[in-house]
Symmetry: C2
Subunit: 241 residues, 2 copies
DNA sequence: TATACCAATCTGGTTAACCAATTTAAACGT
DNA sequence: ACGTTTAAATTGGTTAACCAGATTGGTATA
């Protein structure tokens, strides 16, 4: 069979194509929740693509909760109605990779919440880990070295202490992407590192004291630079809260 | 070769095992950012697992931004330092499926933000879509039918109008999971549907009028039931904001 | 007629063979 | 001895064959 090497974006197009075809098939055949989808082989033949492509598309839809496949049995439509399903399909197909501003905006939102939750739910064990991350950060900064990574780990430790695995996951998803852009827009700039030590200590103290109000406030101060970058020109109103 | 059918959780264990082995390998060999990982074949042989397993593990690490593979070339360590990388590895390995409370908590957080952003950034086109979703919801409710799906689509339309693709994605991820548990904990219960119409209209009006403060307030009212479920016993303090 | 059983078929999952682009190093010419 | 060319080996990606559990339809038995 003729084989072509596809670029990443071409491959994504193929996958989106398959996803929309699956949606059309479901609608055309009036398949309802818990109904079985045609087998992967049938679909690959019907759509004229490889079975692997079909599998990847199904896995993506499974990730978003629209389908779920059972071994040796089949792929089934999740227990959400046709209308919601079509809406989800449209959204998934339209979804684009997030821009940096979206990531930062989301990170700030998440962190202002996780720090509050952490201050309410942290265990003694969490406190120890936070202290450890903080010490590592301070040591690096005082030695004059770059401490971007240690900074990151402190923030992730907060997310962990929030006891909300959903937010924790989302933090993990957006964090690396932010790091790679970090040279451009620092949260804890090398120039600000000494300032960062105190800010981090303030956050730690608030979590230790189980003071959510202070925790959020200190985090807000810590994010000041980023915050301003994010809400500089267009959306001025939302600065006050 | 001997073949065993693994359950989903067993398969996850295998994958986590591989991921931790990859981490150990990177540390043992002192691989640095942009260094090349051993080939998939080597890894599968070294770890005593199939190449597919290795591929899936790599794909997961790619999803979290730790690795990235280039066709016909190799898999490379992303441009984050060793310390951050190890922290990420630990977090990924420790990550567990979110409980329902986490999901709801996250949804509320996201929606209180997206509705504010939507009120600031919505276009006329967004407004039309919101109106359409709202009409569909109202029609269903007035006909005495269940309108859970239409409700959902209205909320997703708000996320779309927020122009933050990152939050939009996260909403899509957590929404289906919430729906499947919907029978237990309704946001827009059938009993409350008539009330829901007015609440939705209020939210729509706030978005239309570009009033973020009101938008968030109306959404908060709309989430009242869920809100109370989420912050009932343990974390009382954070109700006031 | 209803039920228990069995074999043929179908299913997603898994493995192994294959592909072409890339990288590497050896061979060649200057 | 150095720069260029070329061929062999390596790579992630892709395809096809295979596996065992699940399903299904028919048959035989109570």
């Amino acid at each position: 069979m003729r084989v072509e090497i596809l670029t990443k974006s071409e491959n994504e197009d193929v996958q989106k194509n398959i996803i929309s075809k699956i949606r059309d098939l479901i609608n055309y055949k009036n398949l309802e929740p818990d109904d079985k989808l045609p087998s992967e082989r049938m679909l690959s033949e019907k759509f004229g693509v490889s079975r692997n492509n079909v599998r990847e598309a199904i896995q993506k839809l499974e990730f978003f909760g629209i389908l779920n496949s059972r071994p040796q049995s089949g792929t089934f439509i999740a227990n959400i109605g046709a209308i919601a399903m079509n809406g989800m399909f449209d959204d998934i197909l339209r979804l684009e990779d997030p821009d940096f501003k979206s990531l930062v905006e989301t990170r700030i939102l998440l962190e202002l919440k996780t720090v509050k939750l952490a201050s309410l739910r942290r265990t003694e064990e969490d406190l120890k880990e936070l202290r450890g991350a903080l010490d590592a950060y301070n040591e690096k900064v005082l030695a004059g070295k770059d401490a971007v990574e240690e900074d990151l780990l402190f923030h992730l430790a907060i997310a962990k202490a929030s006891k909300n695995s959903s937010m924790n996951t989302f933090m993990l998803i957006i964090t690396p992407e932010i790091i790679t852009n970090f040279e451009k827009y620092h949260v804890c700039d090398a120039n600000q590192s000494f300032l960062g030590i105190q800010e981090h200590e303030d956050i730690y103290e608030a979590i230790k004291n189980k003071d959510p109000r202070s925790a959020k406030e200190k985090m807000k101060i810590h994010f000041k630079t980023l915050y301003q970058y994010c809400y500089n020109s267009t959306d001025k109103k939302e600065n006050k809260q």
